[in-house]
């Protein structure tokens, strides 16, 4: 049951990419909505709602179904007629097509899945008709809302993005979204939605979490329409068509991958051999040249205390080693720099890497959640208040820091503009072989990652995590490896020269 719960959550929270594949003004790709719903349509819509939607959105459409408490953002309360993803001006209701599109594609970064493969097009329209009965505003409206007109697009260019960056400061997007767009602005911690629940501004560098997708048109519409029910206002009064596109282009220029999709997950984290000293400072240019590996994190929902909606949703890892030590650089976004404070009841931010103490010979591995009674794990953990600690675990409630003398790891951590960068170092081989993993090249070593956002109440078992992946320390290439290719080139070249010469001689003859 617990596993089923975890898997279900992981599936639900996996961002849908449906929005990204669409272009243009009609992302739903469906035909026009039926002119006026018949009583049969409404009845059918109600049946569909009760079967598929009610558990989250509630029988009365009040967003308070039995599953609502486990979701953040909470499911929408339909009674106010406030819908986030619209193509209409601030204050206006969504168009029928807007509602249809959200049902069809879902909302990335939330528990709302797309229903394209579950409900037929006709069923989705019936659902739209029924949803509209939850708010009096739809019946009251005298005319259908007018869609926002998207003017001629300005293509993405360095100049346009630079102008967008200037506007980002001028109209003060940074107040919520932060100086570098990671949702860490000074007003961010206090934001609530229209129902009083805390809400986070989008991390503009994670477009795969954007609720209405991340096409240029979608970004344009969010700026013009605002996101109803949230603090995100409409900028229609301050941004004309050109300025809107500049801002869209600036936001898109922040993305690591221009497609806007989440970074691909790589199962094997590879550590490359380097010669000489490894820089301990995470900001060193050296680290820009090392291959990054990305791991998405989910909430720990297996054991009490559970965390259903983690703050940190992914961590980027780089690994290198030299003749003495292993260095791992972790980078993750966290909107607040929290410190442990017993008086205030706040916790520190932290991240950890987990290895088994003994690399198992076969497929057998310790339980990924801090080990089990039989097989122990080792944790390299860095916290914003406590710094670096090595721990051993035989279970979530059996996690102990090692003795002072056995603490051989060091770390340097920095927080800037909503992002942590930490470089951890540990000797490849240690004295305390009973408690420390001994790193060897050429083996597949299980590895897992954890993160805690203290300001989100995350501490102890309340954390974001991955299950096991693999860590592979690439063996140093023997020197002869460099000789063979050169030798091959010389021999091949020599042979060709000889053949050509022979042929020429033959012709002459």
């Amino acid at each position: 049951m617990r596993w089923a719960c975890l898997i279900l959550l992981m599936i639900l929270l996996t961002p849908s990419t449906g929005w990204g594949q669409e272009k243009g003004a009609s992302p739903g790709g469906a035909g026009a909505p039926p002119a006026a719903p018949s009583p049969q349509d409404l009845q059918a819509g109600k049946r569909i709602y009760q079967k598929w939607c009610m558990n989250c959105h509630g029988a009365q459409g009040d967003g308070a179904g039995p599953a609502a408490d486990f979701l953040r953002p909470r499911p929408r309360d339909f009674r106010q007629g406030l819908f986030k993803i619209r193509t209409t001006q601030s204050g206006q209701l969504p168009s029928d097509q807007d509602l249809f599109n959200v049902i069809t594609k879902g909302m990335p970064g939330t528990g709302m899945p797309g229903w394209e493969k579950v409900l037929t097009e006709a069923e989705r329209w019936q659902l739209v008709s029924y949803l509209k009965t939850f708010s009096r505003r739809f019946a009251r409206a005298s005319a259908p809302p007018e869609p926002i007109r998207i003017g001629t697009q300005l293509p993405l260019s360095a100049d346009s993005a630079a102008e967008g960056k200037r506007l980002f400061r001028e109209i003060e997007c940074f107040k919520c979204h932060g100086d570098e767009g990671r949702g860490d602005g000074p007003s961010a911690p206090e934001l609530t939605d229209d129902w009083g629940a805390p809400i986070r501004p989008a991390n503009l560098r994670k477009p795969w979490t954007f609720r209405g997708g991340h096409t240029p048109e979608a970004l344009y519409l969010r700026l013009q329409s605002g996101i109803a029910g949230s603090p995100m206002p409409s900028f229609a009064d301050s941004l004309d068509n050109e300025k809107t596109w500049h801002l869209v282009n600036y936001v898109m220029s922040l993305w690591q991958d221009s497609s806007g999709n989440n970074p691909p997950l790589q199962v094997v984290l590879k550590a490359r051999r380097v010669e000489g000293e490894i820089p301990a400072q995470p900001g060193e240019a050296f680290w820009q040249d090392q291959e990054p590996f990305y791991y998405p994190l989910v909430g720990q929902v297996i054991r009490e205390p559970r965390l259903f909606v983690p703050s940190v949703d992914g961590v980027q890892v780089q690994a290198v080693y030299n003749d003495r030590e292993l260095a791992l650089r972790l980078v993750w976004d966290d909107p607040t720099n929290s410190k442990a404070d017993a008086e205030q009841g706040t916790f520190e931010d932290a991240a950890a890497i987990e290895f088994p103490v003994q690399v198992p010979p076969g497929a057998k591995r310790p339980f990924f959640l801090m080990g089990d009674a039989e097989l122990a794990v080792q944790l390299l953990r860095w916290g914003s208040s406590s710094g670096m600690t090595e721990l051993n675990g035989n279970g979530l409630d059996k996690l102990q820091p090692q003795s002072e003398s056995s603490q051989e790891s060091t770390a340097v951590g920095e927080f800037q503009n909503g992002q942590y960068q930490v470089v951890m170092k540990r000797p490849l081989r240690t004295v305390n072989t009973a408690q420390d993993i001994q790193f060897e090249t050429g083996r597949f070593i299980p590895v897992a990652f954890f993160a805690w956002d203290g300001s989100n109440g995350e501490t102890g078992g309340k954390m974001a995590l991955t299950s096991w992946f693999y860590f592979f320390i690439e063996p140093a290439l023997p020197k002869v490896t460099y000789v063979y290719p050169a030798l091959a080139v010389v021999i091949a070249g020599g042979l060709q020269w000889w053949v050509v010469r022979r042929l020429r001689q033959t012709k002459m003859d």
Partner: protein, 238 residues
Amino acid sequence: MRTWLVVLGGVGLLISAAAGSSLAYEGAAVAEKGRVSGIVKAAGKPPAPKPIEVNKDQATCGKSQPAESLILGAGNSVKNAVIRLTNISKGKPLDTAAKVMLDQAKCRFVPHVVIVPVGATLEIKNSDPITHNVHTFSIENDPINKAQPKTVPIIPTKFTAPEIVKTQCDIHKWMGTWIVAADHPYYAVTDDKGQFKLADVPPGTYQMEIWHETLGKMTKEVTVKANAEASVSVELKK
């Protein structure tokens, strides 16, 4: 084709007029006029809210902002209570051509309670060199949330139905105001001394509603006679 559209439009207008008739207020010259004056006080001694510490934009907003959710004057008099007659159907005309100002100055909405006739224009102004957002929480009117950077001095806004609309700025969480959309002219807000006045009231017996954001609301009956002033004193209990 065109005639059909005109006919359809006309029918639509008739239907909407009929639908609104139950609430419709009729404005005309008032021949015999009475007045209501009064004072609103708080029962007991409700605790005064503490000033709010400002943690951003201190150059514009200062280091602290007064809490405006309850302002008591001498003798427990209540500022910013809203008075309205709830069952008046005829009286002086509603000024739908009015332009009412709601300013955002030094990170405060001024005034804290503003009355705007339904159909008239509320000019939402930003006097600050920083961005605010005007976020309304309305049910009868369409809720808006509009950003107002310093480059947008005025956002004109209209309300279509009577309602007391909670309004806030999300960027500066302490900034709140109440927009009172009025469907007739017999609305008032109490001053520093808790006092209010309604003028040019046709003689009759009315239900009067007194509402305050923190102290809640109550109703009281008031009888207005021609060329006379009815005096009312009410105590709001939380």
